[in-house]
């Protein structure tokens, strides 16, 4: 008859974060609907923008595909985030959060683990979408290293928005409500510089679109892919957008991470 080995001393907090992150990634990899449908959907939208709307778009001195792909790739963080909100809500609904909160591990481990797993899945989506972007004609006008920095920035933005979606998921409490709340990604994506130049919008919408975080994030990524043309096309050099987008990211984390943690503690 098997016996229970003695309980070892408590592991490091990072340990529990990784254990929870691993669960999130396994869940993603082993749910074909998530992997295949999610990827397919992203690819389809990129093709629609590129080939259906693309002909009617005027992005000024830069070709539309070079304008679109950086914007499209950046907004993936919001669409991935919808899934993150639903995932957290599902963990609440199905009792996994209760189990974790009844264990002798730090409160932040669950949230940090989710954020880590979701960031890993974001990288997967990014790589696929960038590959499709190149396949449909997108080219880097600057150096390759700037392109990599742009990708890394998107991961940072994704991590920042992850806290918004975790907080939404915790507040919603069930997956369907979370999906509903995450609907707010639409004004953020479409009323931004992601798919069309902000100058083409009516004045009242421009005022919002120009100053919201997604526009700064998209333009930071776009500027890095445009190389020396960035200043001429976007009106400012890359560092202008990069610094502002990072300030926005920090602000989002500063507001939403404590909110999420407080909500999680309360249960």
């Amino acid at each position: 008859m098997a016996t229970i080995a003695t309980t070892a001393p408590r592991s490091m907090p990072q340990g529990s974060t990784f254990v929870i992150a691993r669960r999130g990634i396994l869940k993603f990899l082993r749910t074909p609907q998530l992997v295949v449908l999610g990827t397919l959907q992203g690819a389809l939208f990129l093709l629609i923008f590129r080939y259906v709307f693309g002909g009617a778009m005027n992005a000024g001195s830069v070709s539309y595909v070079d304008f679109l792909v950086p914007g499209f790739v950046t907004t993936i963080i919001l669409f991935a985030g919808q899934g993150a909100a639903a995932g957290v809500a599902e963990d609440m609904e199905q009792g996994f959060v209760d189990r974790v909160r009844s264990l002798p591990i730090p409160r932040r481990s669950f949230l940090a683990g989710r954020a880590l797993a979701d960031s890993a899945m974001l990288v997967w989506s990014l790589v696929i979408t960038v590959a499709i972007g190149f396949a449909v004609g997108f080219r880097l006008h600057g150096q390759a290293i700037d392109g990599l920095i742009a990708l890394a920035l998107i991961v940072v933005f994704g991590f920042a928005f992850e806290w918004v979606f975790i907080a939404l998921g915790l507040v919603a409490g069930n997956a369907q409500a979370a999906q509903g709340l995450a609907f707010m990604v639409f004004p953020l994506t479409f009323a931004s510089s992601a798919y069309v130049p902000v100058e083409s919008m009516p004045g009242w919408l421009q005022a919002f679109a120009e100053h919201q975080p997604i526009t700064y994030m998209v333009d930071a990524v776009r500027a890095l892919t445009l190389g020396s043309r960035a200043d001429a096309v976007l009106g400012h050099p890359a560092w202008y957008f990069v610094s502002r987008s990072l300030v926005w990211s920090a602000a989002i984390v500063a507001v939403f991470a404590p909110l999420a943690v407080a909500r999680f503690r309360r249960g």
Binding site: T7, V19, R30, S102
Partner: protein, 335 residues
């Protein structure tokens, strides 16, 4: 430290409703304590309080001598929780699920593996261990969930309605698993709506309603006060109800309950099968037409009524309709 749980005057409000309204409860070391009560009695709120998931508003709640509010980590280190849902991950195998919880409990990789294998064996899940949980039946998921609450070798196991929603066979399998644990010396606090479940598993039953303990004792004590078993008679003709009630009243010291709508008379008896024979003969001699005559354990409603004098639905201050509760046998029959 012979008390696993000691709750004194515990209160918890959600908005205007008091989920716990001065609950006193003691669970002794080495025992299985069942918290028995209807929906909304405060059972889950209490378990969540013990599990450090909910902060109580007032009173004191000690688990293993530790105050839940002041030393939550000490409490977390000694409990295992299995909630109302099977909180296992469908996209992982049974083994992966248990190893994950063991790791979260702070175990190193190798003991986590060994403990998980041992728990799988005990739950009878070794064969299914490497299958994804999404292929498991509801009963297997519950067993795995129970296993997950065990893999950290907790001193106190908290089971919140462990068999709700299970088919009868899975229910009995889960009971066996829980009983096996108890034999190994784990203390258990379980909540249930079913008297037979509490009776099968617990050394001590605390009946709660509207956030307070209304009765406590061993299953035998409670049943002694409520009658060991119940004889139930379905009559064919509604007009026979008073006559049948009068016959049953003579059997034992219990007062028969008449339910007009279902043409049913029931009475608590001490002697079990002997009383059933007597009832059969008496009914036969009186020539009453009977559709069905049975001997069964008392329901929660009947125990509740016997112990508190108030039917379940009408208990407390909100005066809900007592429509489904029995009416005394001597009430005038409705036309």
């Amino acid at each position: 430290m012979d008390r696993t749980i000691e709750a004194t005057g515990v209160t918890k409000r959600f908005g205007k409703t008091a989920a716990l309204d001065g609950l006193d409860l003691v669970a002794e070391r080495g025992q299985v304590t069942a918290v028995l009560g209807p929906n909304g009695a405060g059972k889950t709120t209490f378990v969540r309080g013990v599990a450090t998931l909910l902060r109580m508003d007032g009173g004191t709640l000690l688990v293993g001598g530790h105050d839940v509010r002041r030393e939550p980590d000490a409490v977390r280190a000694m409990i295992g929780l299995a909630g109302q849902f099977a909180a296992v991950e469908p996209a992982m195998t049974g083994r992966e699920n248990l190893e994950m919880v063991a790791r979260l409990f702070g175990q190193a990789r190798r003991p986590a593996k060994a403990n998980s294998a041992a728990v799988l064996e005990r739950m009878g899940l070794t064969e299914a261990a490497d299958r994804l949980v999404r292929t498991y039946s509801g009963g297997m998921r519950r067993k795995l969930d129970l296993g997950a609450s065990l893999v950290g070798s907790p001193r106190l196991l908290l089971l919140d309605e462990p068999t709700t929603g299970l088919d009868p066979r899975s229910r009995i399998e889960l009971w066996d698993a829980i009983r096996a644990l108890v034999e190994r010396g784990t203390d258990v606090l379980l909540t249930t709506q079913y008297l037979d479940e509490a009776d099968h598993l617990a050394n001590r039953i605390v009946i709660i309603d509207h956030g307070r303990a209304v009765a406590a004792g061993t299953p035998a004590e409670l049943k002694q006060r409520a009658g060991k078993s119940v004889i139930e008679v379905h009559v064919r003709d509604r007009g026979d109800l008073p006559r049948v009630a009068a016959i049953l009243a003579r059997l034992d010291h219990g007062t028969p309950q008449v339910e007009e709508s279902t043409r049913r008379v029931s009475v608590a008896v001490e002697a079990g099968a002997g009383s059933l024979r007597e009832a059969f003969q008496a009914l036969d001699a009186a020539g009453a037409e009977v559709d069905d005559l049975s001997l069964r354990p008392p329901t929660l409603d009947e125990v509740f009524l016997a112990l508190t004098g108030v039917p379940l639905d009408a208990a407390g201050d909100d005066g809900a309709s007592p429509a489904t509760a029995g009416t005394p046998a001597n009430a005038p029959p409705a036309a």
